[in-house]
C-alpha cells in the first residue's frame, strides 16, 4: 500500500481518477465549466510549484506568462489566421524564450529582491497588453475565435472539461517525472543549500533558469486554454492580482506538492463561487478562510493532511 502511494505515477493517476469520477458526479454544465477552470488553474499552479515549492524561487509575475499564452490564441489567429493550436504553441515558445532571457539576471536575486523583480516583470507585460490596444483590444479585451479540429468545432462545457482535464493529467505526469529525475534532485538541492549544490557540481544559475522556463511554459499553456474555453480574453488574466492568486494557490495547496497544486486551485476557484450567496461578505469570508487554512494546516492542505495521516497510522 505504502509503495503504491509513493510510486511516481500515483499522483497523475489520482488526478486522472478524479477527473473521470467528477465527470459523473457533476450535475450540470455549469459545474463542468467550473471544474474546467480548476483544471486550467491547477496546470499553471503545478508549473509555479515546480519553481516555488521545489526549487525555492518565488515569482510574483507569473500571470504575465499566463496572459501571453492567453493573448497568443486571441491575437495570432485573428492577425495571421494561425490555427489556435499553433498559436498556443507559439505562445509557449515565446514565454519560454522570454523566461530564458530575463531568468538569468533576475534569478541571481534572492528572496524579497527576486519577488520585487518578478513583480516588475509581470506588471511590464500586463501594461504592454493593456497599452497595445490596436493588437489586443486594450482594457476591453478581445474575442477568441472558436477552435476547429479536423473540421469539428470544439465547443461545450463537457468537451472542454475533458480537454483541460487531459492537459492537467499530462502536466502532472511531466511534473512528477521531472521531480524524480536528476534535474528534479538538483532543483530540490539548490533550494536547501546553494553552496552544497554547487559543490556537488550543479550549475545553480542554469538550473534556476531551466525551471523558470518550464514554469513559464506551464503558465502559457494554461493561459491559452482559458482563452479558448472562455472565447474571450481580458488584460486581467495577466495582471498582478492574478499572479498573487497563483502564488496563493501554491501555498494553500502545499509547496512542493503536485496534488496540493490541484487542491489549492480547487479551493481558490470554487470557494468564491460558493460564497457568492453571501454577497458583500464574500471577499471577507474568503480572506478569513484562507487565514484559517494557513493557521491550521501550516504547510498547505495536502502536505499537512498527509503528515497527519502518517502520524495516525503509527
Amino acid at each position: 500500500m505504502q509503495a503504491l502511494f509513493s510510486h511516481r505515477l500515483a499522483v497523475p493517476l489520482v488526478i486522472a481518477a478524479l477527473v473521470v469520477a467528477l465527470s459523473f458526479a457533476l450535475p450540470s454544465s455549469f459545474y463542468l465549466r467550473v471544474a474546467a477552470l480548476v483544471w486550467i488553474s491547477a496546470l499553471a499552479v503545478i508549473g509555479l510549484n515546480l519553481l516555488m515549492g521545489y526549487a525555492g524561487q518565488v515569482s510574483l509575475g507569473h500571470a504575465g506568462f499566463f496572459g501571453l499564452g492567453a493573448y497568443a490564441v486571441a491575437v495570432l489567429p485573428a492577425q495571421f489566421s494561425l490555427h489556435p493550436l499553433l498559436a498556443a504553441l507559439a505562445g509557449a515558445l515565446v514565454c519560454g524564450l522570454i523566461a530564458f532571457a530575463v531568468g538569468r539576471p533576475i534569478l541571481k536575486l534572492k528572496g524579497h529582491y527576486l519577488a520585487v523583480a518578478t513583480l516588475g516583470f509581470g506588471i511590464l507585460i500586463a501594461m504592454a497588453i493593456s497599452n497595445e490596444s490596436w493588437l489586443t483590444g486594450g482594457p476591453d479585451g478581445m474575442p477568441v475565435s472558436r477552435m476547429t479540429l479536423f473540421g469539428w468545432r470544439v465547443r461545450g462545457a463537457e468537451t472542454w472539461y475533458w480537454i483541460t482535464g487531459g492537459l492537467l493529467v499530462v502536466g502532472a505526469w511531466i511534473a512528477v517525472n521531472l521531480v524524480a529525475s536528476p534535474t528534479g534532485r538538483a532543483l530540490r538541492a539548490l533550494h536547501d543549500s546553494e553552496v552544497a549544490a554547487r559543490v556537488a557540481g550543479i550549475d545553480v544559475a542554469r538550473y534556476k533558469v531551466r525551471v523558470f522556463v518550464i514554469s513559464a511554459v506551464y503558465a502559457s499553456v494554461a493561459g491559452s486554454s482559458l482563452a479558448l474555453v472562455n472565447g474571450f480574453v481580458t488584460p486581467e488574466t495577466a495582471n498582478f492580482l492574478h499572479s498573487i492568486e497563483l502564488v496563493t494557490m501554491v501555498v494553500v495547496g502545499g509547496m512542493g506538492s503536485i496534488l496540493g497544486s490541484v487542491a489549492g486551485a480547487a479551493i481558490l476557484v470554487v470557494l468564491p463561487q460558493l460564497l457568492t450567496t453571501f454577497h458583500e461578505y464574500e471577499h471577507m469570508l474568503l480572506g478569513l478562510m484562507m487565514m484559517v487554512i494557513m493557521i491550521v494546516l501550516r504547510s498547505g492542505i495536502v502536505p499537512s493532511l498527509a503528515a497527519l495521516f502518517q502520524r495516525r497510522r503509527k
Binding site: R8, I174, N177, L178, A180, S181, P182, T183, G184, R185, A186, R188, A189, H191, D192, S193, V195, A196, A197, R198, V199, A200, G201, I202, D203, V204, R210, I214, G256
Partner: protein, 262 residues
Amino acid sequence: MSILSVQDIGIAFGGVRAVDNVSFSAETGQVFSIIGPNGAGKTTLFNLVSGVYQPKSGQVRLDGEAVTALEPNRLAERGLSRTFQNLQVFFRMTARENVMVGRHLKESRGLLAHLLALPSTLRQNRESAEIADTLLSRVGLADYADTLASSMPYGALKRLEIARALAAEPKVLLLDEPAAGCNPVETEEIEKLIRTIADDGVAVVLVEHDMKLVMRSSDRVLVLDQGRVLAEGKGAEIRSNPKVIEAYLGTHGTREANLALN
C-alpha cells in the same frame, strides 16, 4: 607533481587577513591535515580552495591545471569535493536522495528525457540510488536511507555529507571537522573511513580538532594561526614543535597527541 597545490593564497575581510599567504600541497592516497585554533582561517582556506570565496592573491592548481577562483561546480567537474563544518545538508530530501545529488555530474542530464521519464532516466535513477545505498552502507548509514535528513541526528549528518562528497568520485576531498560533535565510537568510525578513502587513491585534506584522530591518520600536518602557516611537517614533528604547543596544542593537546602516536 601534487594533485592539489596551493600557492601563497590569501583573502581579507574588512582589513583582517583571514588567510595570509598560505601554501601547501596534498598528495594522492595521503591524508593532509590542517589544524589550528578557532578563527585561524581553516574554513576560509577551504572556501578559497573550493571556489566558494574568490582569493585576493595566490593560485590553486588541481591535477596540474590552474583552477584559481573557478566556480565550485567547475572545480567539482575537475575532481574536487568537500564537506562543511556548519552542515550544508539537503534537509527536505532523504539520506539516499542527498547522496544521489552527489552523483549529479555522473548522471545523464538531458532535460527532455527527464521530463518524459524515458527508460534511460529511470535506469539512471535506479543506478544512482544503488550507488547511494552502497555509500550509505560504507559510512554506516544504511538504516537511514529513506529517512528525511531533517530527522537525522547530528553525527549521522556529518557522515551523510561524506557519503555525498564520495558519490562524486573525487580526486581531492576536503573534510571540515568531520568528527566535531561526534561521540568516541563515531569518531573512531570516521577515522577508519578517512583512512580507507585515502587508500582508495583520494587526496584527503582534513581540518579537525580531535588530536588523536589527526595524529593517527595524517601523513602530514599544517598548523595555521591567525591566517598564517605556523608550521608544517609530520605529526611527530608538529606535536613537539614549541611554537605549535604554545599557539594551539597546549599541554593537554600535546598529551593527547603523544598518546595517539605512542
